[in-house]
Amino acid sequence: MENNNKENVKLVGFWVSPFVQRVRWALKMKGIKKYEYIEEDIYNKSSLLSEINPVYGKVPVLVHNGKPLSESSIILEYIDHVWNDDFVPPLLPRDPYQRAQARFWAKFADQKVLESAWMVLCSEGEKQERAVKEAIEALEKLEEKLKSGNSVFFGGDTIGYLDLMVGFVSYLYPVWEEAASVKILDALKFPALAAWQSDFLNHELIASEYLPPKAEAVAYFRWRRSELIPVYNRMY
């Protein structure tokens, strides 16, 4: 049930970015179908991007009624705040303590789970072995968190903010594993996360929404891997 002043939503993104993907899912969950999606070539950035995200020049950027917002976690909280009547599901828990927990684990997902998996993608040999160890440690904590909630999703019986923030684990993790030729999320070691991966991807809201095509995504990240291994070798 959108009224007029909630229209006029633009999303500037990149087809394979997990940060953009979160925003797509959030818009989908809130029933916001009529928005303009603008694909940005992040290797050849437009003047639009530097105008709407002058600080970082990155995607995603949500432009709502002409006003830009960046950083995916901040965009998700904004979307949750603006589109929040009886007809749409809340993304974040209402209780302040539960909200704080969701925010904590979302930050963990980015700083530890995603970062470590990215390092696995962009390294080889001993460096990659170390990165895999760190990635597994991060996943162990996430697995424990999911188990402790005693429910299908991080958000409970249905998908919430934390599921969207961790969502990249469902579809992008397998892509990075294939591109880097290494397995991290072993279903036997991480049964709760493995079950969550398929429950999340099969959820009607997620299944019906765009996901980057797998073969193309693997090819893209193989290319990123080859470009970044020498760069990260010098840095770390």
Binding site: K67, L69, Y97, F104, K141
Partner: protein
């Protein structure tokens, strides 16, 4: 039932100061526990098993970790006085953006200022000043980042200000020279009792950095 509020913290931490500041702004009574990071207490390890870091706010026995998350929690629970985040969703998002920016950019440049020398130090100085200038531009003519009132963005940045003396001394520059308006904002904030009582003494911070540098061979 009275609220039981405990804060696990260390005197010098700009992150811990944010929690102290938010509690002071709201006038909340709490028990302060100074942690020795070289010998972490069982409480800390139990309350923050994931990161084992301070600050940790323990409210009626339940822990909240990560300074900006703690500040938002405090703002949401004790919502009837001194709101830190705006109620308008766009303004709220902007406040969160700038607080996040401070953490993404200032901490790293500051750390490099205290732990490097030569070309690396010069780069750290350049990066640090650039970040301050961006923040000064965002402040503009407003008295606070929050507008007319001290808010979330102010809380996030002001706790770095007592570290400026150390950064300036290590990097041999003056923040005042590059960002006079920002330094005016610092003075304005320090005029608030909640701020002045939550921040540490800049000279003591510098002394602790000298000890750290000596210990780790960063001279």
């Amino acid at each position: 039932m009275a609220d039981e509020v405990v804060l696990l913290d260390t005197y010098f931490s700009m992150f811990g100061m944010r929690a102290r500041l938010a509690l002071a702004e709201k006038g909340i009574d709490y028990e302060y526990k100074e942690e020795n990071l070289g010998d972490k207490s069982p409480v800390l390890l139990e309350m923050n098993p994931v990161h084992k870091k301070i600050p940790v706010l323990i409210h009626n026995g339940k822990p909240v970790c990560e300074s900006l998350i703690i500040v938002q929690y405090i703002d949401e629970v004790w919502k009837d006085n001194s709101p830190l985040l705006p109620s308008d969703p766009y303004q709220k998002a902007q406040a969160r953006f700038w607080a996040d920016f401070v953490d993404k950019k200032l901490y790293d440049a500051g750390r490099r200022l205290c732990t490097t020398k030569g070309d690396e130090l010069e780069t750290a100085k350049k990066d640090f000043i650039e970040v301050l200038k961006l923040l000064e531009a965002e402040l503009g003519e407003k008295p606070y980042f929050g507008g007319e009132n001290f808010g979330f963005g102010d809380v996030a940045l002001i706790t770095y200000s007592n570290w400026f003396y150390s950064y300036e001394t290590c990097g041999n520059f003056s923040a005042e020279e590059h960002c006079p308006k920002l330094m005016e904002w610092v003075k304005r904030c320090m005029g608030k009792e909640s701020v002045s009582k939550s921040l540490a003494d800049p000279k003591k911070i510098y002394d602790s950095i000298l000890v750290f540098k000596k210990k780790h061979g960063f001279e």
